[in-house]
Amino acid sequence: MQQDEELSVVCFIAGGYAFAVEASQIGGMLDTAPAKFTSVEELLGLTAATNSFRRWLRVGERYVEVGEPVALCFLPIGSIYHLPEFIRMRIQLKGIKALAVMDKPVLLVDLNHLFDPIKSPG
């Protein structure tokens, strides 16, 4: 794996913090709320959303409501890290897979795992 390779991710805000999900997990995005969706804060176990501008990402057959700004980003492989052991063991959020550190940290989340923790090893 080359260090100058990049990972395509969709970045978004949840509970006021920066998160990202692998772009391959996202099937599309809506600007208006679908009939049925789950907020990403609820999935992660965060407190309620703090920003009012929302978008809805399609993950398989379901929709996840996330906070703006939502953007397709390319993370250099060298900026992506395993969670330090104590963070991995003590973090109270669900589905966190890794950490990217650019000018600020971004938590990489596995939305498939959050929807279906039995099928996905997380």
Binding site: P84, L99, V101
Partner: protein
């Protein structure tokens, strides 16, 4: 009285008499890192502290317990930062200018540990490390492996392996 000129042996003999107890330079020593939290001094074994970091940006992450301050980037390695004050049940204070992060390494785990101030790094005779007294607070008892008297301070030598293991298991 015999009038004899003083010799070097005489002088050395006198010095020997007045020098007091002879220090056994062959006694094993151990390197300790002394640090403070408030007015209380503590120590880790030097072999457990690979680096003392100052002016290090700590990145906050959501969803962490109050005992975890966040993560730091140490030349490309991401490390957690534990608040030792919180682990020891001491009240939180604003991070002071003298505050430092000790990059600590146990046999299996590594993490930064926030302390108020690093006081000294010294080689201490192993015999100067005394068993912990029964009077130390209950919360400290499992993690204190010795007491050192240094200047006017009674310093608690902490067991980093035990602290990390307890923390990993969620016991602290």
């Amino acid at each position: 009285m015999e009038d004899r000129a003083i010799t070097l042996d005489d002088i050395l003999a006198r010095k020997q008499d007045t020098a007091g107890a002879v220090v056994n330079v062959d006694e094993p020593t151990v390197k300790l890192v002394f640090f403070s939290l408030g007015n209380a001094w503590y120590a880790f074994r030097g072999e457990n502290v690979s680096e003392v970091l100052a002016d290090c940006d700590v990145f906050f992450l959501p969803g962490l317990p109050s005992s975890l301050e966040g993560v730091i980037n140490v030349r490309g390695d991401i490390e957690s930062v534990i608040r030792l004050r919180t682990l020891l049940g001491l009240p939180e204070v604003d991070t002071a200018v003298a505050s430092r992060i000790l990059l600590c390494q146990s046999e299996a785990m590594r993490s930064g540990i926030r302390v108020d101030r690093v006081e000294e790094v010294l080689d201490i005779m192993e015999s100067a490390i005394l068993p912990p007294p029964h009077a130390i607070p209950e919360s400290l008892r499992p993690i204190v492996i010795g007491i050192i008297s240094y200047q006017e301070h009674m310093i608690h030598l902490l067991d980093l392996e035990r602290i990390f293991e307890d923390y990993r298991l969620g016991l602290r």
